[in-house]
Symmetry: C2
Subunit: 241 residues, 2 copies
């Protein structure tokens, strides 16, 4: 079919957690209900409350999911990039998106019809199982986010955020900050000013931030800081490091 996917992009799709377990036939079967969608920066893909008619895979660029309270406050729920799928759960629930979605940067997406997907699952249960695994993973991430918001300070949340981006398990390591600070702040549930101050606090724990990069002196030490309970921090402020 006239799917405008480069071979590289096709491979990207095949590797997403959502599809990685599927046979080539099942995959191309699913692709029959798919279309490529290009979105300029700031473009809105869907709005909370809208019927969930599709799931998406990011081919390029950055996408944010957020909620707007009636008052107008925006809470960024999640941010996705190349190779990640989203809205798969929404497509099944009460049939409306629980969040709004917009492109942060210029973006390229694969859009798969929910109805089509639904049909395929009925035919081959394995697709359903893969999707269950995928939404479960999403759920797990949310659990961690809720925990972080409840039990950690801002600085600790950043530490954890950096650790997720760092590939190395031990020693020192440099992390590229993926999007701008205002967005990172929103994702972590704070204001840009607080993020700035929290980064400063991390300097005492071996994190150097310059431009769009963060240098972690010791991954172990940072992990230690991220996981330390509040009480310890309080006690430590008299005799720090």
């Amino acid at each position: 079919m006239g799917l405008d996917l480069s071979p590289l992009e096709l491979q990207l799709v095949r590797r997403t957690p959502l599809f990685s377990g599927l046979s080539p036939e099942a995959l191309s079967d699913l692709m029959a209900g798919a279309a490529v969608q290009n979105a300029p920066a700031g473009n809105c893909l869907f709005t909370q409350g809208e019927p969930a008619e599709a799931i998406f895979v990011v081919l390029n660029g950055w996408i944010k999911l957020y909620r707007i309270t009636t008052g107008g406050t925006e809470a960024v729920i999640e941010i996705f990039t190349r190779g990640q799928s989203f809205a798969e759960a929404a497509a099944f629930a009460g049939a409306t998106y629980p969040v709004s979605c917009e492109a942060v940067t210029e973006a390229r997406l694969l859009r798969i019809s929910a109805r089509h997907l639904f049909d395929r699952i009925r035919r081959s249960p394995d697709i359903g199982l893969t999707m269950l695994a995928s939404t479960s993973k999403q759920l797990r991430l949310f659990v961690r986010q809720i925990e972080a918001l409840k039990a950690q300070t801002g600085a600790q949340r950043i530490a954890e955020f950096l650790l997720e981006l760092a590939h190395c398990e031990t020693g020192s390591c440099t992390v590229e900050l993926p999007y701008d600070k205002a967005l990172i702040a929103a994702r972590l549930g704070m204001k840009p000013e607080s993020l700035s101050r929290a980064f400063n606090r991390l300097k005492d724990h071996g994190v150097e931030v310059k431009q769009r990069q963060a240098e972690i002196a010791s991954v172990e030490a940072l992990r230690d800081f991220a996981e330390r309970e509040r009480a310890d921090i309080m006690k430590a402020h008299g005799a720090d490091d």
Copy 2:
């Protein structure tokens, strides 16, 4: 089979969102892999990191899901009661529970083997679809929780919590508080002391708390307060009603 379920309980199970869409055959098929489990208050059902070998339906009592940081802080993620299922998502993900679970009160549960469930889904995809819908609903709840933690004050979170418990859409209404204040506080991400103070703040918005009951004078007014953005609250404090 020797499933020790009363007819009432069986009906309860049939009505859970997780199973409500299933045919009687599919349901009794699933029940073949189920067992009833009784847990005294404080009993631990599973621990985070443990392989997720079962999903649960609460027949009676209160169950809490929580996470313990390495430091020892506890973050309550969710609380379930009669007629609700949980851990369905965990049973599929990376095969370990992302949270710990314990009975808050004495509790009675239906425990369904994950492996068994897995088999059934392969045979009848509809079970998979129901489960997808169910985990999606869970995901949606988490999204709202994340939003609440990021964008609302403690008082607003309680207001929303009360509104969820209130069945009436408008006018005045009395809500029974389901579990003790310490647990409510944990669920909402704050300390009991803060909960107490936040309840006081709600008095200005027509909420009267006595014993285990909360009286809401006007559901609309409360909703208005819950959804008001922070900025408005600040401005209002000089000229409060």
